[in-house]
Amino acid sequence: MSARSRTVASVISAMAVLGAGTAACTSGEEASSASSVLTVAAYSQPTLQANFNPFSPNALRGTVGLIYEQLFDFNTADKNQFMPGLATKYTWDAGGKALHLELDNRAKWSDGTALSRDDVVFTFEYMKQHKLLAVPLTTVVPEGGGVTLTFASPAYSQIQQIGRVAIVPRKLWAKQDPDTYINRSPVGSGPYALGRVTGQQVSFTARKDYWRQDVPVKQINYVTTSSTNLLAQQMVRHEVDLSYAGIPNIKSQYLDKDTAHNHLWPIRASMKPLLLNLRRAPFDNVHVRKGIALALDREKVADAYNPGVYQAVGPTGLTAQSWGQVIPDGAKEPLAQDRQAALKEMAQAGYQLKGGRLVDAKGKQLSLEILTVSTFADGMAYAQELAGQLSQLGIKATVPGEAPSAYVADEGKHNFDAVFGDAYVFGSNLYNFYWSMLSPDSTQSIIGWDDPATKAALDKLAKADPAGQTEATKGLEKIMTDQVPTIPVVVKGTPYMYSTTRYTGWPTEKNPYTTPDPGAVSGVYAEKLFLSLRPATKG
């Protein structure tokens, strides 16, 4: 008995020594590899499944940009400059019904073969065949040093979507179904090859033979982080170099912890309006909408959560920084809060202020429920600020919180007074911005705005060539300011947070060479970003 217990004891101690040994060597490795690896908090979900099919909505991030390359993009964080990818230039012809793309003839697949015009033609045909293309493409043919696309109707407004097509090799894709193919070992033309997928991380390793240039960051890890609380801790410990999640109190939780290395640049890529259900009285009355629009202090709403990330926006919904030349004078600045003007509008709609309450002729108070997803802390904060301001005008404004699935269901059934959750992307062409918000054909347009004048204005903008787009946008801007179908409140900011402990050369507000919105973990944006970084010099 005692002999046995001695053996057990020695086995246990041997195991302990062994365990300590392996633990020691793991931490040593961790330290050495951590210095060169760039870590991106790319997922807010805890686990991943391999999927490197660039046509799948569940494609893992980095599939496009790091492995497969897009044709081109536009730098929306700056002044929408052209950013080359596989294509170096584009030229319109036939009144927007033909587009020639000049390709970079240096491009090569990771198996060593050249990326040919034929692959580009194939990709467009493949996407058309499988209904993956939102563009009215009729033909695509090789021509000169590139390809020429033709369209059924002018496609000026679709230029960004065309540029964002990720090109795949014909020889590997011809027989694949884009809906169900998982593509575990992708062959792309991008600067990175797939490293390892472990369920909580995807690693990408730099290709030594990348056709464009030397790749400065040798390994990039896209990791999962299930909660903002955890993310904040990982960022403070510099375990994560780049992230976009809305952690609460970014300033005190992140920036102040290491002011030399921790940085934030809020990227403003979309607009968040207060959406009223126009199918319901009295929100179908333009004076009620104008009254509500005048009752808001937009700066206060923008700062209700993480001050400095969101930004108040003017009545056209556009930011003056990016779209200054498009916005007519007088509509550039956010609408100021004006209680008297708001009450005047309400009076025109038949609402009088009685004992601090806005009531109609029958004495019924104007009430408004701002439906919100209760699990989004930021969304709740913004909605509550809005409701507070409307209450001060005399409206009975409340914020019923709902579970995400119930919110989606109610929104889909148009069972709401108001929502302040949806944001509309500006993109490089304003057609998509206004179309997704105002066209009854858009699934994102939930307000029930169905107006012939808006349709005509949208059609005009869709067909306008680049020179005529500013003029063609005016009609839509006028509808926004006069009819107020949606009430622009803020520009949604994505907190792009980066650390300069391992790498420098990140895009900044002063040097916005690429758009680091969440798209920056994929696409031309990401490629440009990762190829521009340099290892930090140890000081």
Binding site: Y181, A406, G412
Partner: protein
């Protein structure tokens, strides 16, 4: 535990008695077993049907849920919206009864369809990826908590009011009343974030692929220590209090007094007489908790970003991923049923009274 205390009693019985009791057991076993099997089959069918119906009572549709998640991470372009609606919008266009029969048909083939949250990965692959994580972490910590809690409870309850009882019992009631989520966050903050003794999160170092690789295993163990400790710490007290109370009432029973009067050693009285009877209710609730292990622990896995079934269930619910939810619920309910069935059978052996009742 129960099995260990039982075996000496059985082995010391005279050979003849053992033979007759064995054939008796076999006879009773047959009828009890048949009845049990029939009961469990009906329960399994009911569970499978509920699994099918419950997720469909949730409001919303998968396409919109996926879009909501996408829009939370960043702006979603209109063509993306169309693609998502095309792929996932028609998931429920079929009538309910037809969905039900194809679901039942799929069950027999072990085919749960394709996951929506991880489309187009098959549900079985997704479930497999989280299965071992949860089973190992929760299985090991549940067993540890059960054994430790029961032993400590037995020791404390042996002498109600003794020094061990006065220290342990109030302490465990205090620990029991801590909200798990809060306790886990505090432990992470102190031991992982501040002191850096343990990794912050994850199942293992993320750059190691799961497999029988010593580096992976040691990393997985290091990552599991803190979550396991939080589970043990917060669940041990339940077993402890339960066992302590049972023990405290059993030690005053006549047969324990008789055993003492016979002059048996204190250890024998405690283990073979008092504890063996006191542990019976704990064993049956242990079956339930072993069954639930397979469901993972949602909270633990959320706090520790652990890649187990709890995390998958959370993702399935957020994305309204019906196929994945069905599979997970089914795995959970089937394991609870199987664990209960096994415990039912064990019970017949553990507790002679159940055998009497059956005959």
């Amino acid at each position: 535990m129960g099995g260990v205390t039982l075996s000496p009693a059985v082995s010391k019985a005279p050979a003849a008695v053992r033979r007759t009791s064995r054939s008796a057991v076999r006879r009773i076993w047959g009828s009890v077993l048949l009845k049990r099997i029939a009961f469990y089959l009906v329960a399994a069918w009911a569970a499978a049907t509920l699994n099918f119906l419950l997720p469909r009572l949730m409001p919303g549709d998968p396409a919109s849920a996926i879009l909501l998640k996408m829009s939370e991470l960043g702006p979603v372009t209109p063509d993306r919206v169309q693609l998502v609606h095309r792929l996932f919008g028609g998931a429920h266009s079929e009538p309910l009864w037809r969905q039900y029969f194809s679901y039942l048909g799929g069950l027999f083939h072990g085919d749960f369809g394709l996951s929506l949250a991880f489309y187009p990965t098959p549900v079985s692959t997704v479930v497999r990826s989280g299965f071992l994580w949860s089973v190992l972490l929760l299985g090991v910590s549940t067993v540890i908590a059960f054994v430790l809690g029961t032993v400590l409870g037995a020791l404390a309850g042996r002498r109600p009011g003794g020094w061990l009882d006065t220290v342990i019992s109030p302490l465990s009631i205090f620990v029991h009343s801590l909200p798990y989520f809060w306790a886990a966050l505090i432990l992470v903050y102190v031991f992982a974030f501040r002191l850096d003794w343990f990794p912050l999160s994850g199942g293992a170092r993320p750059d190691l692929a799961p497999g029988f690789d010593p580096r992976f295993i040691s990393s997985a163990v290091t990552h599991a220590l803190l979550p396991a400790a939080t589970i043990v710490l917060t669940s041990i007290s339940g077993w402890l209090i339960h066992m302590r109370n049972m023990m405290a009432s059993v030690v005053n029973e006549d047969y324990v007094l008789l055993a003492r009067a016979k002059g048996l050693s204190e250890t024998r009285v405690t283990t073979a007489y008092a504890a063996r009877n006191a542990v019976l209710p704990s064993v049956s609730s242990f079956a339930v908790s072993i069954g639930l292990v397979v469901g993972g622990s949602l909270l633990t896995e959320m706090v520790f970003n652990y890649p187990g079934l709890g995390s998958l269930l959370n993702q399935a619910i957020l994305n309204l991923d019906y196929p994945l939810m069905q599979a997970l619920f089914l795995v959970i309910s089937m394991t609870v049923l199987v664990a209960n069935f096994v415990m039912d059978c064990l019970y017949v052996l553990l507790d002679p009274r159940t055998r009497e009742a059956a005959s």
